[in-house]
Subunit: 219 residues, 2 copies
C-alpha cells in the first residue's frame, strides 16, 4: 500500500481506457472477456478518494451498449463516466453546423440520431469494420470531393486492433486512404488528440497535472 | 506540318498513355469510348518514323483484354507494344523469388497465372475495385504483419480516376491504408516510378532524351 500511496502522490484522478484495460476484444466486437482482476481493481479504485473516468476510442458500439456489456461483466461503470468519440463528435458537429455523411458501424448509428445528415458538408469516419466496402469508401470519397472545403472527422486514428481471430484494420488506415485520395488532413476526435483528453478531464473536474493515466492492464 | 517537325526535332519515340489518351473510362472499366480523333492520330504516328509504345497503369484488365478492347475501337495496337504494371511485376517477383498474396481485380488474375502464390512472402496490390472489401484488405494486412520483412508491391499509386458515373478511388488510397497500418512503405510498379518508364524505353530501344511523352489527349 505504501508503494501505491507514493506513486499516487498529488494524483486526484485516474483516466482509464476500456478495451485492453478492462476487457480483451473478441471477434467482431463480441465475445469480449474481462481481464482477470480488473473488476476488483476498478472496484478498489472507486472505493478510493480518486476520481475515476473512462476514456475510450470505441467506435463500433454506442456508449449505452458498451456500458451495458461492461456492467454485465461485473464492472462498476455508468454511461456518464465514459468519454467516447461519437458523443464528442456530435458536440463538434452541432457547434460548427456540420451535417455529416456517416461512414460508421451500425452499432454506433444511434449516437448520431439527433444529428442532421441531409445535404452533407462533411464526412465522419469511424471503425466501420465490414462496412468499409469499396462502395461505402467511394461514396465518402465522392462526398468529400464535391465539397469546396472538405472536412473529414475521424473517430480515432488507430492502425489496428487485436481480436481473438487476429489483427484487424482500424479506422486510421481508412482515414489515411481518404486523406491521400482527397489531398486533405483529417481532424481526429479520440485519443491521442490532446483536445480529446482535455474534454475528458473537464468532465472529471481534474487538471491534467492531477491525473494518472493507466496505459497498461489494471491488475 | 512545320510545327510538328520543329516540336519533334531530336525525338525518336513517343510513349503514350492509354486511358484518358486513347479512350475515356466507362463505368466499372466497361463502356470505354475512344476519344474523338485519337484513332486517326495514332494511325498518323504509326505512319511516321517515330517509334510508338504504350505505357499504362491499367491494373483491372489483362494486357490481352485491354488490347482486344482497343483494337475493337479501331486502334492499331498489339500486346507487345504495351508496358503494363502486371507483367512488369511478374518479372520482379520472379527475379526476387517473391510469392505474392494477390489483392487484385479478377480481370488481371490471368497475368499472374505462372506465379507461385503458395505460402506468400509479399503482397501485391492493384486497383481491385469492388474487391477492396474489408475482409480482403484485412487478409492482405494480416499477411504483411506475419512477415519478418514485409514487402508490399503496389501497381501504381493513383489517387482516383474518373468513370462516367463519377470519381473512383484508385489503388494508391488503399496502398496508403496498408502502409499506415503496417508501418511500411510500398514499392510502386507503374507510373510515376522512374524504373517503370525506363523499362518501357528499353523495350522501345530508345534513350530517355530521344523520347516525347504525351500527357494530354492526342488530337
Amino acid at each position: 500500500m505504501a508503494a501505491w500511496s507514493e506513486r499516487l502522490a498529488g494524483v486526484r484522478g485516474v483516466l482509464l481506457d476500456i478495451s485492453g484495460v478492462l476487457h480483451d476484444s473478441g471477434e467482431g466486437g463480441g465475445g469480449r472477456v474481462p481481464i482477470p482482476g480488473s473488476v476488483e481493481a476498478l472496484a478498489r479504485l472507486k472505493r478510493s478518494q480518486l476520481k475515476v473516468r473512462f476514456c475510450t476510442n470505441e467506435s463500433q458500439k454506442s456508449r449505452g451498449d458498451l456500458v451495458g456489456l461492461l456492467r454485465h461483466m461485473g464492472f462498476d461503470i455508468s454511461e456518464g463516466e465514459v468519454t467516447a468519440p461519437a458523443p464528442a463528435t456530435c458536440l463538434i458537429l452541432k457547434e460548427r453546423g456540420l451535417r455529416p455523411h456517416l461512414l460508421i458501424h451500425d452499432g454506433i448509428r444511434s449516437e448520431f440520431a439527433q444529428i442532421d445528415t441531409s445535404n452533407p458538408n462533411c464526412v465522419v469516419i469511424a471503425d466501420a469494420g465490414e462496412s468499409f466496402s469499396y462502395q461505402n469508401m467511394n461514396k465518402a470519397f465522392q462526398v468529400l470531393m464535391e465539397l469546396d472545403n472538405p472536412v473529414l472527422i475521424s473517430l480515432g486514428k488507430g492502425r489496428y486492433y487485436k481480436e481473438t481471430s487476429g489483427l484487424m484494420l482500424d479506422v486510421g488506415a481508412y482515414t489515411k486512404a481518404l486523406e491521400y485520395a482527397c489531398g486533405i488532413k483529417a481532424e481526429v476526435v479520440g485519443k491521442p488528440a490532446p483536445g480529446y483528453f482535455q474534454s475528458a478531464l473537464q468532465e472529471m473536474g481534474v487538471e491534467s497535472h492531477e491525473l494518472k493515466e493507466h496505459r497498461n492492464k489494471l491488475p
